[in-house]
């Protein structure tokens, strides 16, 4: 009886992880496939990696996506933090519920609607005031900011609401003006949430296909768009190679961040008392 339960548990866990990670592992394995056919194993080779680094289209799309994602994440963190501060600090104003709802609405809004409405807005803006001229990197970035701000606001808001309000009062009582209090007390304390929000915004933007397809223009093809269109023309193992690289980079980052966090926590709890 006692021997069976761990076995069942083990099977369940193994099955769960296999369900999550087998597709990715398959993809990574086939990135080293010598054959042009994605589903047929033709021996080990790194030729797709070499071809990938020669593929100007993918590389420039990657660079564009990274720039858009970084810019988007930065703006989203600023705007999202401001929104979160407003929601946490001013609990009394009359339209608070409406404001809170509208800040977080993009979380549940279908992307197709977000993309279409952004496109309509850019077109009519261009007709009215001549800006933005055509569609491209700027319009994609703006459209991304509108929906990633919501995610950042939620992350920062949860951190802010855990903050002891008397910290700010204590800082003011000790002679710091409100702006200084924000800079030297609030910002450092919520900085983990800001970093998390930035990374989230970056990932969401890197990942987005639907909204970008609506608001992109000629010459501004993001990485997901390139991947998607190349898949439609028949999957090239280059995409596998690219995906493998992204997975490796991201998981290395996650592991390092996790290790740092763990070390910091252990140092804190280890010394206490």
């Amino acid at each position: 009886m006692s021997g069976r339960r761990p076995f069942l548990l083990f099977t369940a866990v193994a099955f769960g992880y296999a369900f999550l990670y087998l597709p990715i592992i398959t993809l990574m394995v086939y990135s080293f496939n010598d054959s042009r056919l994605v589903t047929v194993w033709g021996g080990f080779s790194t030729r797709w990696y070499v071809e990938l680094f020669r593929n100007e289209q993918i590389l420039s799309a990657l660079w564009l996506s990274v720039r858009i994602a970084a810019m988007n994440a930065t703006f989203a963190v600023v705007l999202g933090t401001l929104a979160a501060l407003t929601l946490v600090r001013f609990t009394q104003f009359r339209t608070r519920m409406l404001f809170a709802g509208m800040v977080t609405a993009p979380l549940v809004m279908p992307e197709v609607i977000l993309g279409l409405s952004a496109l309509l807005m850019f077109v009519s803006l261009e007709q009215l005031i001549g800006w933005p001229e055509g569609r491209g990197m700027t319009t994609i970035t703006i459209a991304h900011i509108t929906f990633t701000t919501a995610y950042v606001a939620v992350v920062v808001q949860s951190r802010l609401s855990q903050l002891d309000g008397s910290l700010e009062e204590a800082a003011m009582d000790l002679g710091a003006r409100p702006w200084k209090v924000f800079l030297v007390i609030i910002l450092p304390i919520i900085s983990p949430a800001l970093i998390a929000g930035w990374l989230l915004g970056f990932t969401l933007s890197m990942d987005d296909l639907v909204i970008a397809s609506f608001v992109s223009g000629p010459g501004s093809t993001t990485l997901p768009m390139v991947v998607y269109s190349s898949v439609r023309l028949g999957v090239s193992p280059q995409v596998n190679a690219l995906a493998t690289l992204i997975v490796v980079v991201v998981s290395t980052g996650v592991i390092i961040a996790g290790w740092l966090l763990h070390r910091q926590q252990r140092r804190h709890t280890g010394k206490a008392r």
Binding site: A170, L174, G175, I189, H268
Partner: protein, 381 residues
């Protein structure tokens, strides 16, 4: 209760009619949005070097009043003056006042040292001077060896001392303490009470403390104000408030009190004779203010001012008969709860002079309780 030794000069500043108050609170009222009066027309004068306590149950407005003094709340009416200068409109960061918060509000991302230095940095003092003052403050609260620790690596008592050092570092003219000992366990709290008083005497700063713990207020303060529902009921030294409570609320809030209701039947100079249904007889009691015959009054008697006697006094006044219902043995004293024939429960405190585990009285004994004409207070409110 042992009282910390105090400099006698600091004691009588408020008794000197020519003394100028250090802090004046003039008719301060704070109304919150819902229309609740958190602080209702409070006026107080506090003198230099005092350790003043605002005492009351939670929600009585004492913390709001403290926050008004810190500048964290703006009063709806009224003025606050320090040394004659109106500070009502000053923001918290421009007041010569510092506060020690109930949660301590230590900055979690800074070390003990940086926490204490924070206020000094805002004053733009020189590096050397800041280091000197931080060292001095940490010395004062005996936290020097923990200077490099972060707040989450400290125990509750250590955090409390860091918070005190931080609030004293700027040498404020006035220090506000919001339940400074509230988060400490009992043993540590008693020790810290004396330590806090000693530190206050050494730095000479005027302290105003908010507390709900009457024992704490009595032990530590030079004077205290009892608050209820946003109003100040009585201001005085711990002794005055305990021995001469001005109202039934104060009598029952500070220490234990037995209250007998009655009506004045005779008033000769300062001696009143009160007919009380609660004792079933007459109570004779001294009272400084003249009262007319017929006034409804209550007489408050502390448990330690009652005596257990064999037989009623000869003059038939100042006594009540009852049965022992509960016995609380506290070691040094015993507290008896006596149910009177009139249906009231009276507390009596008896000092255990001889060593014995069972007292002379036991449950269901019928006893007579008697008291002197100076033992109690006559209350009209």
């Amino acid at each position: 209760m042992p009282q910390p030794k105090r400099d006698p000069a600091a004691l009588d500043a408020w008794q000197d009619p020519s003394a100028r108050p250090f802090l004046e609170i003039r008719n301060v009222t704070k109304v919150f949005d819902g229309g609740t009066y958190a602080v209702d027309d409070v006026s107080l004068s506090i003198f230099k070097g005092e350790f003043f306590s605002l005492l009351g149950a939670s929600g009585c407005g004492k913390s709001t009043l403290l926050r008004v003094l810190a500048g964290l709340e703006r009063p709806s009416h009224g003025r606050v003056l320090i040394e004659g200068e109106d500070i009502t409109e000053l923001p918290p960061y421009e007041r010569p006042v510092n506060m020690m918060f109930q949660s301590y509000a230590l900055f979690p991302h800074m070390t003990v040292e940086q926490n204490v230095a924070f206020g000094l940095k805002q004053e733009r003092l020189g590096r050397g001077e800041i280091r000197e003052r931080v060292a001095e403050m940490l010395e004062l609260v005996r936290m020097t060896e923990f200077a490099r620790r972060k707040p989450d690596q400290l125990s509750g008592g250590q955090r409390q001392r860091v918070a005190l050092a931080r609030s004293l570092a700027k040498h404020p003219k006035l220090l506000l303490l919001d339940e400074p000992l509230g988060a400490l366990d009992r043993k540590l709290r008693e020790r810290t009470q004396f330590e806090l008083v000693n530190i206050q005497e050494r730095v000479g700063t005027t302290f105003i403390m908010v507390t709900h713990d009457q024992e704490e207020a009595m032990t530590m303060s030079t004077r205290l104000a009892v608050m209820d529902a946003g109003r100040i009921l009585q201001v005085g030294t711990p002794g005055e408030i305990y021995e001469y409570p001005g109202s039934r609320f104060v009598a029952e809030f500070i220490g234990a009190a037995n209250v007998f209701e009655g009506r004045v039947v005779e008033a000769q100079d300062e001696l009143l004779v009160i007919q009380s249904d609660a004792t079933g007889g007459e109570i004779a009691m001294y009272h400084a203010q003249p009262l007319t015959v017929g006034t409804p009054v209550s007489v408050a008697l502390r448990p330690e001012k009652l005596r257990v006697v064999e037989a009623p006094p000869a003059d038939g006044r100042n006594w009540v008969r009852g049965r022992v219902r509960e016995i609380g043995y506290l070691g040094d004293v015993s507290i008896y709860h006596v149910a009177t024939e009139q249906g009231q429960t009276v507390q009596v405190q008896v000092t255990n002079r001889a060593r014995r585990t069972a007292g002379p009285l036991t449950w269901d004994d019928t006893v007579c309780l008697a008291w002197d004409t100076e033992a109690g207070v006559v209350l009209t409110a």
